[in-house]
Amino acid sequence: MIEIKNISKNFKNNQALKNVSFSVNNGEIIGLLGENGAGKSTLLRIISTILLPSEGSAEINGYDILKSPKEVRKNIGILFGGESGLYERLTARENLEFFAKLNGMSNKESGERIKYLINKFSFAGYADKRVNTFSKGMKQKVAISRAIVHNPSVMLLDEPDSGLDFKASKTIFDFMEECKKEGKTIIFSSHSMENIKNYSDRTIVLHKGEIIKVFKISQYREKYSEKEINNMLFNLVCDGDENV
């Protein structure tokens, strides 16, 4: 369960987020849509306690991000956008083991969980190779595994489909669906409208730091064709046109 309450964030002369409020239920997947610089990554960083909000607050499973950041971090797993954030001189398995240890997992627990993730995301063939030899797609699979190695109940995934081919991307989103069924809360951002449309229960559109639309794609599918929906989403994301 995530409760975002009037979050604003200022960076020097730039207001990255303006009064952002929404909530996400257990077993729900939220898709974040927005241009580069719309505030998606900043929002996810604030929820994960990496950045502090200038105003407002948020609660993760009842823990306030300002008052109990440590508890919040135990409950979340975050994949950051951009660089994979993996240690290149370590192997994929060593990366996962390191983060499992930092999250307080025992060797037995982490061993089982890592084995599960390696099989789930199909990287057994290169699990014991150093990350600096990996392609972007390979790194992305390991980075996602790293983010959720401690089996968190809240998953924040910033562009999980970045650099992945169609098959790998589907594997990731199928996995998210499984997690949803287990009651986990998921927020993900993506530049792929298809993935947002196909996998999110609700979509939040951010434009210049503000939420301009929250909707369920199913309500449009009854009235409009896919092409029309794509055009509407395009106008929303790029021009902030709320009259959709």
Partner: protein, 387 residues
């Protein structure tokens, strides 16, 4: 917190050891470079600077000092009309200008002049100067102990033999030791700083640049543990660098027969030198890591660290020729300079436990204060995310 810091420490070590560049720069280069540099500067074995006979010239011969010097086995007086030229060419090592009325003044118990000239730019000449001035002192002491009433009595002085030359062989001019005491502190300081700067830049600014810091901070780990783990790893590399420098010194000591140092160098001195090396490594690790945490990029961190290396050279150069007797309490309070002082004391066999304890205590305090600064910086998002 300590458990988390250790997890980070061991991870960092694994990453560092897998980077050949760091391994070469931090460990192998000082191991080979230090003895090589000392050999180049010190000219290798000490014995080659210990000539059996020193050539000198004198301004006039008709006096007791000429006779006294002629009587010495390790002094040869060369005839020349142009002593300056001979000094420059190295044909003589010293030129003694003797008071024209030396013997008369001695008899009258009046002060007399003996002016020794030597070539300041020649190592051999500088060494010879100390021997010749030793003879001059010995000559003057004779007249403090005995009085002579007639010039004829001064003939006895010309027959006095003083075996100052033997002291050359027993280590008076032990150049290996001289260079060792002069340059070891400077090289240890330089290498501790260089050895920690690469690692610190990688673990602080490098981690920001690679985007690995955010996932790390998003775990349950405390930021103080992250800082401590990184400080331990940087210090470890600094200690390895310093240790390989110390081992390089030992190789030089043994090969160069730097007897003065070698004879007085025991397990305790080695242990004290090692503690000093660790102290300086921890200090530079803390300084370089603080800079690295502040820096936007790896390159920026390295630029700042180069400045620190240059800054660290100042106290090294300042104390290059310093005698340990000149060490005062204010020197012991200044970071870097204080460690140079205790290294010099250890190497010159004038170890002072009080000085050592003061320096250890103060450095622990400095590192703790730097740790607090690092921790403060690490909590500021505008610092750690200002890539």
């Amino acid at each position: 917190m300590f458990k988390q810091a250790l997890i980070i420490f061991f991870k960092e070590l694994k990453c560092i050891m897998r980077d050949l560049k760091t391994f070469f720069v931090g460990i192998l280069i000082p191991f080979f470079l230090v003895p090589s540099i000392l050999f180049i500067i010190g000219g290798g074995k000490a014995e080659q600077y210990s000539p059996k006979v020193i050539n000198i010239a004198v301004s006039n011969k008709d006096n007791s000092f000429y006779k006294f010097m002629s009587a010495q086995d390790d002094i040869a007086i060369i005839e020349t009309n142009n002593p300056e030229k001979f000094l420059d060419s190295g044909e003589i090592s010293s030129y003694v200008i003797i008071d024209e009325h030396l013997d008369e003044k001695i008899i009258k118990n009046e002060p007399f002049a003996l002016d020794i000239k030597y070539n300041e730019f020649s190592v051999n000449s500088s060494i010879s100067y100390s021997l010749v001035s030793g003879y001059e002192e010995a000559y003057r002491e004779i007249f403090q102990k005995y009085s002579f009433e007639r010039i004829e009595d001064l003939e006895q002085v010309g027959e006095m033999k003083i075996n100052l030359g033997e002291q050359i062989d027993s280590g008076l001019i032990d150049f290996g030791s001289v260079f060792f005491v002069m340059f070891v502190p400077m090289m240890l300081i330089t290498y501790s700083c260089v050895g920690t700067s690469t690692t610190a830049a990688d673990l602080g600014a490098g981690e920001k640049e690679r985007g690995t810091l955010e996932p790390l901070l998003a775990t349950g780990v405390e930021r103080s543990a992250v800082v401590l783990g990184k400080l331990l790893a940087t210090t470890f590399m600094g200690v390895l660098s310093s240790m390989s420098t110390v081992v390089g010194f030992l190789i030089y000591l043994i090969i160069s027969s730097a007897r003065s140092v070698l004879n007085n160098f025991n397990i305790m001195s080695f242990g004290a030198l090692l503690v000093a090396a660790i102290l300086i490594s921890v200090f530079f690790a803390a300084i370089n890591l603080t800079i690295s945490i502040y820096a936007k990029s790896y390159k920026e961190a390295q630029t700042y660290s180069m400045f620190i290396v240059l800054l660290a050279m100042f106290p090294s150069v300042f104390t290059l020729m310093m005698e340990t007797s000149r060490i005062n309490f204010s020197y012991l309070c200044l970071p870097v300079l204080n460690i140079i002082c205790i290294i010099k004391e250890i190497l010159s066999n004038s170890f002072n436990l009080l000085h050592f304890n003061v320096v250890v205590g103060l450095n622990v305090l400095y590192v703790f204060l730097l740790y607090l600064v690092m921790f403060k910086l690490f909590k500021k998002e505008n610092i750690i995310f200002r890539v």
